[in-house]
Symmetry: C2
Subunit: 287 residues, 2 copies
């Protein structure tokens, strides 16, 4: 099933000289594919464009990206599309070439197989019943120049994900060097306390996920205040509800962190409903 397009051509390889390989000098997007459509493609391309601006990588022709996405996804009922954009090939050394010709890599992967929802109205048991999480000891470094960007320098996440292999634990929660909770290894994190929604400020570390921005927009639309701030492990553990999110999993409630249990609460359920409705609107072309 795996298919890859490199600069529009079917290939499985990239040049050794590509700065994505040499330095992690690039960006990526991970996009759900549903019935041949790349879900929230416009938002993913907007974020890619914002990342390009911050890393001074020329953003490719958007029609081309949309065309290639459609070519790759059109016959796929359910899959994951990964889009990588690098600064292209260049000589040895950090200095970027005078003319940058970005490399774009679109690859299609099987959708992960999550346990099936018992009630049937959720996409997976994790969405329905929640997941167990742990705190990782690997910290996120602090760097405002890179914070928020979904770039290819992901060793911190690799090291954090290597901390556990227990299949019962679905996500690891990462703190930054200031002991602030930032996100999951592959997700953003929200918590509910006193009927308000909180998430980490990403000014110094973390990835500003597309699903995170959708949840914040939906909350604003429904008059649920969202506070972006810096918070500690203890503040998180005193939350009423916690959930993680990304473009592939949607919203997964957290029902347990280490030995602390959390209910799958009404606010989390409400936001899951808003997200479902929103997906339906977008797929039906209303927005």
């Amino acid at each position: 099933m795996r298919m890859i397009l490199v600069n529009g051509e079917s290939r499985e390889h990239v040049e050794i000289a590509d700065r994505g390989f040499q330095y992690g000098d690039g960006l990526f997007e991970t996009i759900a594919v549903d019935n041949g459509q790349a879900v929230f493609l416009g938002r993913h391309l907007d974020r890619l464009k914002a990342g390009c601006r911050r890393l001074y990588i020329p953003f490719p022709d958007i029609e081309l990206l949309v065309y290639e996405t459609s070519t790759l996804c059109q016959h796929s009922s359910k899959a994951v599309l990964k889009l990588i954009l690098t600064r292209g090939s260049g000589g040895r050394g950090y200095r970027q070439p005078d003319v940058i010709q970005p490399t774009r890599v679109l690859s299609l992967h099987p959708f992960p197989s999550f346990p099936i929802s018992i009630l049937g109205k959720f996409a997976s048991a994790y969405e329905e019943q929640g997941i167990a999480a742990r705190f990782c000891s690997t910290r996120l470094g602090l760097n405002p120049a890179l914070a928020g960007i979904k770039h290819l320098n992901r060793l911190e996440q690799v090291l954090a994900r290597a901390e556990w292999s227990d299949p019962v634990i679905q996500e690891g929660i990462m703190l930054d060097m200031n002991d602030h909770v930032i996100e999951g290894t592959m997700s953003n994190l929200f918590y509910v306390k006193n009927d308000m929604l909180f998430t980490a400020s990403l000014a110094l570390a973390g990835v500003a996920g597309v699903m995170r921005s959708i949840i914040m927009a939906l909350s604003a639309r429904h008059n649920l205040p969202v506070v972006e701030h810096a918070f500690s492990k203890d503040e998180l553990l005193s939350a009423d509800e916690i959930f993680v999110c990304n473009s592939i999993i949607g919203i997964w409630p957290i029902n347990k962190i280490a030995n602390t249990r959390f209910p799958v609460g009404s606010k989390t359920r409400q936001i899951q409903v808003w997200l479902d409705q929103f997906k339906h609107e977008v797929i039906c072309g209303d927005i």
Copy 2:
């Protein structure tokens, strides 16, 4: 002249699925080649091994690495060898595969052409007369889990090197998020003050260069105290002498940072002599 070996085979490409490309999940070494020999190869392989231990990447058979290095370098009088070692190919997602088969990439590049030394006894005019440097505004993030390692997550260096294009400036000096001076974009930095040698502590940020470790070993051998500590821009600017170093350039004195001038001092000259003698010893097989 460019030649590349990927896992021992002559190739110019690497798999898209390689974790080096996907996440910068790997390490590298940049090694001078002189008269068919990879200079200080043992020390480079030692550092690579130390990096492998910290990132949990299996270190390849050392005889194989030495053999491939020799194959690539033997007919080259002067060149740069780049050795990249990644965690190999793996599925989508940060979790590493159960069986890790690292990818090793050895590539040979032209030696950079530096201006010629006037007196003729130095390898370049930069070694002889020194270089102009600047302070970069891009900061190094803080992360003890990654500090010191020559890994493939190098976006900070790419952004820092993109800050200037003035050909008169040969190196950019990087500070960390705590306003401590750490290193150059492609080099380690030392300064001399009151006949003592100082360099940055790399506990939170920076790359522990092979040339840096050689200079520290040579200084110890010749009873010149070296202090690894945290220091500010102002402390650096009040130095008696400053130099940067790496495996390709050797030791370049800094004669100017922004508007502050520095002499090419006697301690720097002394260390250049020690390094020359040491290179000769190593190449002649005495050590």
